[in-house]
């Protein structure tokens, strides 16, 4: 009975994983990049200046305030985002008064050059935001359909995680076991290790991912059991809104924001400002809110300091009241997105995300590795289904990273004044992915693996070089300016390229090894062997 149960779970795990594996791979990889979406956007807007060292928060606030005074009159709300470890530029934003018939006005945001105090005109780009939005808003599909597809895949992923734990017989005795063997046992170990070491992450990310579109997936419940008012009440519970100061239309002189900042500094006992919000600027009711980097997954009222901008007094603001359900909901969101994470924790998020991606990839490869010996014995060659899986594996596992590199190439190489440039960046990415998905159909599987790995290595290593040729924000300059955020991006590209080059080299070495060992055995001339010989001839011809 027990074995029977495990068998059926194994069957379920195998097929569920196969059906949604490629979409999950796409979701995991683009989602993982999302942990660095600000850094990616910064790289994709090379017009933005380098980081400015040795400048105090007060000086930055003054520059921002001067800019806002000049460019954002008659606006209710100002935002100032100070340079952080993630985004080294000063950014200001404001919301225009709503147009007739609309609830909210247009939001305008611009990067300010610290040296000149002027706006930086950047090229049109989707940036990191577009890339990470793809992981739940599948680019070309409509919002509703993508949410349902993503939800379906995440649900199956959750089931795959749970069944995976059930069918793993020796989860504790094999906790540290990874045997670097060829073929099936090696891939099984890789899959197991990658799953087990980041199991809390896999479970958390899938479960919280499902929570994001709760109201879509639980449509029956939200539509039938609750009426419109109850629904609004519930949303208010989850996202409590604090009414902020409204303008009274009586102009008054504000104290400089940099002076007001002293209040926040005193309250925090530290100089760690992240964002400033100014309400009813230059009005008798003006207020300024200082926000520092989050120190809690859910909500810490002390992270915000509210100051009266006319008198300079601190206002004891009533903290937003979250219910227990609201806190759990927001806590899962924050965990999923890693909003609280500093530089090292962010890199760990990134790596665990990659572990998840690699886990899915190894699972997909495991499916073909397991069936390979049997399929190769077939007189007419492997089945269509097997070849399709192999083709999609190659096209996705190596093809998608190449396509993402093409997205970055498009950013650098498409004409700056091109119409619809943002869309074309993404189009280039999906066109190259489509090509790489089709390509393996016309090549023997191990050739296609090797060639695409080589291509991946080439595009990633060449990307920083293209960056040198097309912009002045390249690796050498960013290292000289000690702009580590920017340099890290180029260095990561080189690192990824080297990983692909290494795996291409390893792949070649392993397949050559396999061939020679098979030759030594000298089996009868079966169809499989004839094919092998043909392959060898081709490879000799190439070499």
């Amino acid at each position: 009975m027990k074995d029977n149960f495990r068998q059926s779970m194994k069957w379920f795990h195998t097929w569920v994983g196969l059906i949604v594996g490629w979409i999950l791979f796409f979701m995991f990889l683009t989602g993982t990049l999302g942990y660095f979406y600000q850094e990616i956007t910064r790289w994709m807007e090379p017009e933005r200046p380098f980081i400015e060292h040795n400048i105090s928060n007060e000086q930055l606030i003054n520059i921002a305030q001067t800019y806002l005074k000049k460019n954002a009159q008659d606006v209710d709300e100002w935002d100032i985002d100070l340079p952080t470890a993630r985004n080294q530029n000063l950014r200001v934003g404001w919301r225009h008064p709503p147009e007739a018939g609309k609830k909210r006005g247009r939001y305008e945001s611009s990067v300010v050059d610290i040296a000149t105090g002027e706006k930086v005109e950047s090229r049109a780009t989707g940036g990191g935001r577009l890339l990470y939005r793809m992981h739940y808003r599948l680019h070309y599909l409509s919002t509703k359909i993508s949410y349902w597809i993503v939800g379906f895949c995440s649900m199956l992923m959750l089931l795959a995680v749970i069944t995976g734990v059930v069918i793993h017989k020796k989860i504790f005795t094999d906790f540290f076991t990874f045997r670097a063997k060829k073929g099936l046992p090696g891939w099984l170990d890789i899959h197991n290790v990658l799953s087990v070491i980041a199991l809390p992450f896999h479970f958390m990310i899938t479960y919280s991912g499902l929570l994001f579109f709760l109201f879509t997936y639980m449509a029956l419940s939200t539509n039938l059991q609750t009426n419109e008012d109850e629904y609004r009440e519930m949303r208010k519970e989850i996202y409590p809104r604090t009414p902020h100061a409204q303008s009274t239309n009586q102009p008054a002189k504000m104290i400089d924001i940099s002076v007001l900042y002293q209040q926040a500094k005193n309250s925090w006992q530290a100089d760690e400002l992240s964002t400033i919000e100014v309400f009813a600027a230059n009005d008798s009711n003006a207020q300024v809110r200082f926000v520092r980097h989050e120190t809690d997954i859910t909500y810490n009222p002390n992270d915000e300091v509210l100051v009266n901008a006319i008198t300079g007094e601190m206002i004891t603001h009533t903290p937003r009241e979250y219910t227990a359900a609201g806190i759990i909901h927001n806590g899962f969101f924050s965990l999923h997105e890693g909003q609280f994470a500093g530089p090292i924790a962010r890199w760990i998020y990134f790596f665990t995300g990659l572990i998840g991606t690699a886990m899915i990839a190894s699972g997909l490869i495991l499916w073909t590795t397991k069936r390979k010996p049997q399929q190769m014995k077939k007189p007419n060659g492997p089945d269509f289904g097997y070849r399709l899986v192999e083709q999609l594996n190659i096209g996705t596992i190596v093809g998608l990273p190449i396509a993402i590199a093409m997205y970055f190439y498009a950013n650098r190489l498409l004409p700056i004044d091109m119409a619809d440039r943002v869309n074309w960046e993404a189009n280039v990415m999906f066109i190259s992915w489509a090509l790489l998905l089709v390509y393996p159909a016309f090549r023997p599987a191990n050739k296609a693996w090797h060639e695409q790995l080589q291509l991946a290595a080439l595009v990633y290593i060449a990307l920083p070089l293209v960056n040198i040729l097309t912009t002045d924000k390249h690796l050498i300059n960013s290292l000289l300016q000690q702009d580590w955020g920017l340099a890290a991006f180029d260095l990561t590209l080189l690192g990824v390229g080297c990983c692909f080059a290494f795996s291409a080299y390893k792949y070649k070495a392993l397949t050559v090894d396999k061939k020679t060992s098979r030759q030594r055995v000298k089996q009868d001339k079966s169809v499989g062997n004839e094919k092998l010989l043909q392959l060898q001839r081709v490879s000799k011809g190439n070499g």
Partner: protein, 109 residues
Amino acid sequence: MLILICLCFPAMVLLCLAMNKHREQVLTQTVPKLMIRFFRPLAWLLLMFTAYLSIELFGWSIGPALLFGALTIAVLLLTLLLTYRAKIVPQLAIVLPFMASLSVVPINF
């Protein structure tokens, strides 16, 4: 954050030394049976201490999340080392926590 990884790593090494097959991989000399019995409780003790430290440093909500992240990285490192460089595991398990405690870099996460 780094200090968490540096403490999680020796805890995981102790857990792995408590298992026969891994002990043979890592250590060449035989270890007295009595000592082996202490490996597992010690590992859990160290892990509890690391959990306490992470909550002390980062608070109740962020602390546990970072602890799991640190564990993932520590186990990944250990698993790879066991396969490719098993002999340096004990040295690393001793050096890492020392480096963490001596580091003058202010702890940020």
